[in-house]
Symmetry: C2
Subunit: 416 residues, 2 copies
């Protein structure tokens, strides 16, 4: 391998910086642990990725710093809020190095090895491992699938990717009001293919393509960097509450308040499903319901969620047509069209498109995540609207279900 996989600290999702910028001033001291979880249970990563390849790539990522130009870029980001990254944060992140990782290939027969990967440390910089490690694992995995391919077979893989991309573009052109963004950094086939997809969509879909969550590509191609917040904010704030059930219940509400204080209208897309959307929506004050741009749907049934959102806004006397739902849960092009048509004229929709955009070359997609599993030594919890996406020890999940009055029953395997 000539080139490393991660070569820039901006080759990550924009939301890592928008969250980090909230973490650093308020909760830098908290100790977190992130762990890799492979939700595609019939693929054993250790059979595909060698320990030495993985270590070399992870070690290389640890040598990277933000460059001066990358700092200029972040400092100059004003699309959502004027000067959203203050100098104090930029000074912090400029010195930031990815902390050490814990990697274990557990013993056993060669085809029964297991790969364990964990990242522990203060919340920032540890949080930045999420995307970089997923990039490394994903790219090494797909390389392994292609390692015995002839030159022509490789060619065919990309030819297939191109024809599929073209089919998608043709469909979107039939619906000029469908607006999509690239959210596919973490699950991409490779960096090169990801860049090809992003630049192609920008050229072919033009104003239908809103931007990319990948900051390096946003910078390189003058696209809009996109992203707001992830579940980890709620999870860590709840985790910090230790046993205090009131504080746990209040965690998402607290995050909503801090987020608005930091970014105002610009990044005001709420993510209600960390502990179930029912609880997450209740957490919003009437003022927040009116002020925020909208909601992100990241688990459960999208149509159901959208209908719930319409009811929710209506009940507060807000016209749903003034609000947006960002759908981002493992979408296919068919899902996008279906959701769009279903809600057309009733509530605004946009689509954060991941795996099926950046990794649709004929291989079976891999559903990998790196999630917070511990906060100050205690188990972290996420419920979501699909219990197969839940994170945490069974007893913690049960406890959180009670605290949040969680009654959803969906349990659908994650393909993407």
């Amino acid at each position: 391998m000539d080139e490393h996989i991660v070569t820039s600290r901006l080759d990550t999702d924009f939301y890592k910086f928008t969250m980090d910028n909230v973490i650093v001033p308020y909760r830098q001291g908290v100790h977190v642990k992130y762990a890799l979880k492979n939700r595609t249970t019939d693929v054993n990563l250790a059979d595909h990725i060698s320990e030495s390849d993985l270590r070399r790539e992870l070690d290389y990522a640890r040598t990277l710093h933000l460059t001066k130009t990358e700092l200029h870029y972040l400092r100059g980001t004003n699309e959502y809020q004027d000067r959203m990254f203050p100098e104090s944060y930029l000074e912090f992140v400029a010195k930031n190095v990815l902390p050490d990782y814990k990697l274990k290939y557990s013993a056993g027969e060669p085809d029964q090895k297991e790969l364990l990967l964990e990242f522990s440390g203060t919340w920032s910089p540890t949080t930045h491992w999420e995307i970089h490690a997923l990039e490394v694992i994903s790219e090494l995995y797909y390389k392994s699938l292609m390692k015995d391919f002839s030159k022509f077979e490789r060619d065919v893989v990309y030819a297939r990717g191109k024809t599929r991309l073209w089919e998608k573009i043709k469909i979107f052109r039939q619906y000029p009001d469908i607006l999509i963004s690239d959210f596919g950094t973490r699950r991409r086939h490779s960096k090169l293919w990801h860049e090809y997809v992003v630049t192609t969509l920008a050229e072919e879909l033009r104003r239908q393509f809103l931007g990319t969550s990948n900051v390096e590509f946003a910078m390189k191609h003058s696209l809009l960097p996109m992203g707001t917040a992830a579940h980890e904010l709620d999870m860590v704030v709840a985790g910090m509450a230790k046993e205090n059930e009131f504080e746990i219940r209040n965690a998402h509400r607290k995050v909503l308040g801090e987020w608005w204080d930091k970014y105002g209208y610009g990044l005001s897309i709420a993510l209600p499903d960390t502990f179930g959307s029912d609880a997450g929506l209740v957490d919003m004050t009437a003022e927040q319901v009116r002020a925020w741009k909208g909601l992100r749907q990241d688990s459960g049934d999208p149509i159901e969620f959208g209908e719930k959102a319409i009811q929710f806004y209506t009940q507060y006397g807000v016209d749903p047509k003034d609000k947006v739902v960002v759908f981002s849960d493992g979408l296919t092009v068919e899902d996008i069209v279906k959701i769009y048509l279903h809600f057309k004229g009733r509530i605004r929709t946009t689509f954060g498109w991941g795996t099926n955009l950046t990794n649709d070359l004929g291989f079976k997609p891999l559903s990998l995540v790196i999630k917070v599993v511990e906060v100050n030594g205690r188990g972290a919890v996420k419920l979501s609207d699909n219990i197969s996406k839940a994170i945490g020890k069974p007893e913690d999940i049960e406890r959180y279900k009670k605290i949040f009055g969680y009654i959803a029953t969906l349990n659908k395997p994650c393909v993407y």
Copy 2:
């Protein structure tokens, strides 16, 4: 030709933006005319550059806008002063398009054609033509000299450039306190060669290489963008004073005040020679002499200027060792070493290196400038410390000499 010469509005000197940022709020309404002047009288540009090539490149430059990422970069520039480019300026410059140009190939025998090139309009955006047009002309000229070269002959040109560059680097390594910057955008052999030189110096000279005046390269290679102000600020402010001799005499003083108000200490390098350095130094108040970082020497004898600077600071009770002189007048490596050794331990020196850095491949250098020639319809004037560099109609030059008490007698042809 496959690629255009100017492909980014940041492929220019940083000082164009630092000046423009002062021009836009205060003097946007003023009408200026810039003209090309070839000080290398034995080269007739029209014999080398075809009208169609020139028009195509100039026309292409007129299609360019700053990209979003380039605006991020400028917005994020804080090396000299926090948020030096305010949003109002960035909004202005984002919409900025290079105005039309006036190009005339005057009639005559083919080898007696003359090339006339002028740019007229409001000060900004017209000011931005200076560097872009010089880049185009310089690159087209050197291409024409190489057009019949074989592949091997071309190879030899760059091999010669590399060996010369290496000799320079070896000399600078002997004097680890010599600090240089690239000021060679306007006179470069080509963009590609310029980039090679800049990146090589950054790697080989490390902390001895302070940065580059070229904003695109500073951005692309995470180098420090360098530059302050040029004579045109003084010239236009004086030109706006019409017949009012007091105001003409006061122009440079006014610019000094405005510059400090805008940028403070960060960009406080005074350029005293627009109307002769004697007048320029007198213009500085005792407070300015103490507060500003130093002076730039751009005409006349550098040793004489440095000695004058030492006297000047001493006379104000300021230790010259706390001040810097930036030498930038057609330097060779020998000049740089000589000046450095002469002033070592007496006053700080740095070197803004142009033609001999970015265009030393064996061709005779060309001394081209694009200067302000008219302000609101009246002739603009520059005197400088070398009357061969003066700009203006003879009667205007005489008038300005009287106003500024100009008595210098140096008249040395410009090689670079």
